[in-house]
């Protein structure tokens, strides 16, 4: 039997006239690494707040580890380890003092707490010198590792991670991904909210995409890209993008869809064409672009990503500022 650690049944949450979460249902199986994706205002934060008992749903039920959160809030809180997006630590205390404090909140004390803290300090790979320093002197990556460790003290079965790698450099990001994978391998059920597609694709075996309070797609990253029945994407960098160019590309046989996309890193606008048989139609695309007097500066062939799926489903980009938990 597939045991679900998180069961969300027809959850709705209203704030006066606004419906933040609209009749959402989803399950997260034990041992799964589940990604919740969506732009700002999609309802991810509200859903996460309801999952950890900070706010109550207007209707519907949530079960964590089989316990209804409204009937057994304390039991659910013991099963959950919540890692907020912001660094929520006392900067005037050192790592050990912070972990001791949060451990005591979860009912740990004495030798058990001391041993657990030492285990987690080893897990975070902080040296003894750093452990004795106040958190205010830590780098962003060190703070984030302790931020995660503080949620693991009581060995929770279910871990909620809110944008765990936000603001981290690539080296620290990879180190944190490794930490998350290790936890998952230990059998922990992990749900992470993120707007980083590479993170979700790299880590998650199940993904839900939320928009306007609803789940608009649910499945593995592979299933989601297959669901839109598109395997490839051609990214073209023309010297200019005009409406004539857009019309010309859409008329080519075999093109499912084409859209303009802005690359924030490169600060350039590209033309994306989605198709099932990229190699076959590439010559037609090149001639169509030339026919409207546009020069091609570069062409790139890649697989459809979750970002592309989201854009196709909603017509909007996912890369927006997220509201922290």
């Amino acid at each position: 039997m597939n045991l679900n650690d998180i069961e969300v049944n027809s959850i709705t949450r209203r704030f006066e006239d606004t419906v933040a979460v609209d009749n959402v249902s989803m399950n997260v199986a034990r041992g799964e690494l589940f990604g919740l994706l969506g732009p700002n205002g999609a309802g991810k934060s509200t859903l996460t707040k309801m999952l950890c008992g900070m706010i109550n749903p207007t209707s519907g039920t949530i079960k964590v580890g089989g316990y209804n959160i409204q009937d057994y809030p304390m039991k659910v809180k013991e099963l959950l380890g919540v890692v907020p997006q912001d660094i929520v630590l006392y900067d005037y205390m050192n790592a050990r003092e912070n972990l001791t404090f949060f451990g005591k909140l979860y009912g740990l004390s004495g030798g058990k707490l001391r041993n657990r803290i030492e285990e987690l300090l080893k897990f975070t790979q902080l040296d003894e010198k750093a452990v004795k320093r106040h958190i205010s002197t830590y780098s962003g990556g060190m703070k984030r590792r302790i931020n995660i460790a503080a949620a693991l003290l009581h060995e929770p079965q279910v871990i909620l991670l809110d944008e765990p790698t936000a603001g981290l450099d690539p080296k620290n990001k990879l180190a944190l991904w490794e930490m998350i994978r290790t936890l998952n391998k230990e059998g922990k059920t992990i749900m992470l909210t993120t707007h980083m597609m590479d993170e979700a694709e790299e880590l998650c075996n199940q993904v839900a995409i939320m928009d306007k309070g609803k789940i608009i797609a649910l499945g593995s990253p592979r299933q989601l890209t297959k669901k839109v029945k598109m395997e490839n994407i051609i990214t073209i960098l023309p010297d200019k993008i005009t409406s004539k160019l857009m019309e010309a590309t859409q008329k080519i046989a075999g093109v499912k869809s084409s859209y303009r996309a802005y690359d924030e890193n490169e600060k350039i606008e590209t033309l994306k064409i989605i198709t099932e048989r990229a190699e076959d139609i590439l010559p037609d695309i090149v001639s169509a672009i030339s026919s409207v007097g546009t020069k091609i500066l570069s062409v790139e062939l890649s697989r459809v990503t979750l970002e592309d799926v989201f854009i196709l489903l909603t017509g909007r980009s996912l890369r927006e500022e997220e509201e922290p938990l």
């Binding site: 809180k77 929520v88 005037y92 005591k104 909140l105 979860y106 106040h134």
Partner: protein, 420 residues
């Protein structure tokens, strides 16, 4: 088991909150040492009043006595009593500056100039006929003395009304003693059988003022002030710290992290309350110890009554702080509101200045404050050594107001959780 766990949680929250003060120099100053700063400044300024030190009073004299005047058609030049008056001022330990003329505020070296610069607080102008008048040298054509009063002109500094009143009181007291001595001399010169009659005529009513024995000791202002500063402790350490206790956790996100742990909101509140109370008691100990070490105050130590009074006063301060902390948008807003409330309030609680010198509406407002009741109770217990029963009205008032404010604080706290 559950109780033990809750106790651990409460003390972990209290300890963490306390460390937040102990490891922050700015917080230590504003929470623990600011009342002490006030005590030291005001203590050194006014604290020794009540010991009769007149040397602090700077008096200017313009002695025209001895200048030539015409008395009974002949020129007189006698300065005996005027000189004696100035000497008596010096003997009474006033700091005396002598001038040849009263002058004006723009002429350097004159009494008026020094009053305008704050060099002297009062100028006494002794007229040229001071000795002649007091020695009955004015006579009629038959040689019978004409009663002539000697007149002194006093000039005070209008820019310092409070200081002027204190100086005037001292100078009037001095003049009264001087007149008594003069009367003694004059009366001793009249026939013996008329002397008693003359004494009554000269002084038909006598007044003696003595300080009632309220403490068993000679008291100075500082002896009242040090117990009174415990009211300041409530405002600065209690109200101010409680005001940011929840708001700062909410701003940092640590409050949300506590709430999503298996910790009840009441446990968080209890931890915060214990920490606030510990800070109030610590600040009180610092204030009292400083009073003893710096100003050598002599106090009576009814420890249970003192501890209970501080607890009840603390209940009001923390309750009010909790309301601010829960309703304020963030830590900065909470801090600003707390300062806005505590700074003016400290002048209405009778810690530094008695409420009796204030206008009636201010007195009514001050009397309604639970912090004022703590000041009264502490002064009664620690300075006057009154029994606990004597401060029961203050204790009852603090209990009721403390409970009301604390319950309102809890309601505000619940509302703030719902807003998360």
């Amino acid at each position: 088991m559950k109780l033990k766990r809750t106790i651990h949680q409460v003390f972990a929250i209290a300890k963490t909150d306390f460390l937040g003060i102990a490891r922050n120099k700015t917080a230590i100053f504003f929470t623990l040492l600011f009342p002490l700063f006030f005590l030291i400044i005001i203590g050194f300024t006014f604290g020794t009043q009540g010991t009769g030190e007149s040397s602090r009073i700077h008096v200017g004299t313009v002695n025209f006595d001895g200048k030539m005047i015409v008395v009974n058609g002949t020129v007189s030049k006698n300065s005996t009593i005027g000189d004696a008056f100035v000497q008596a001022l010096k003997d009474a330990n006033f700091t005396v500056y002598e001038y040849s003329t009263y002058g004006d505020k723009d002429t350097d070296g004159t009494a008026a100039y020094d009053i305008s610069r704050g060099q002297i607080k009062i100028a006494i102008v002794i007229p040229a006929n001071f000795t002649e008048a007091l020695s009955y040298q004015y006579t009629d054509s038959l040689g019978t003395p004409i009663p002539t009063k000697a007149h002194l002109d006093l000039y005070t500094d209008p820019s310092d009304p409070t200081g002027s009143i204190i100086v005037q009181q001292s100078i009037f007291g001095f003049i009264s003693v001087f007149i008594d001595s003069y009367q003694e001399i004059v009366i001793s010169q009249i026939p013996e059988d008329s002397r008693d009659y003359a004494k009554v005529l000269a002084d038909p009513i006598t007044v003696s003022i003595s300080e009632a024995d309220v403490s068993g000791r000679q008291l100075r202002w500082i002896d009242y002030m040090v117990p009174g500063t415990l009211g300041l402790v409530l405002l600065w350490s209690g109200l101010n710290h409680a005001s940011v206790a929840i708001a700062s956790e909410r701003t940092k996100g640590t409050f949300q992290r506590m709430i999503i742990a298996p910790v009840s909101p009441i446990t968080v509140l209890a931890g915060k309350f214990i920490s606030c109370l510990a800070i109030v008691y610590l600040s009180a100990v610092i204030m009292l110890a400083s009073g003893i070490l710096i100003f050598q105050v002599n106090l009576y130590w009814n420890l249970p009554a003192i501890a209970l009074s501080i607890f009840l006063g603390g209940l009001s301060a923390i309750g009010l702080g909790l309301i601010i902390s829960s309703l304020a948008k963030n830590e900065e807003a909470a801090n600003s509101i707390a300062v806005l409330i505590s700074v003016p309030l400290q002048f209405f609680i009778g810690a530094f200045f008695p409420l009796s010198i204030m206008p009636e509406p201010a007195q009514i407002f001050g009397e309604a404050l639970p912090f004022t009741k703590l000041v009264y109770a502490m002064q009664d217990i620690m300075t006057k050594n009154l029994p606990f029963e004597a401060v029961m009205p203050e204790i009852l008032y603090m209990t009721i107001s403390g409970l009301i404010l604390f319950v309102l604080g809890i309601i505000a706290y619940w509302l703030s959780i719902k807003r998360l």
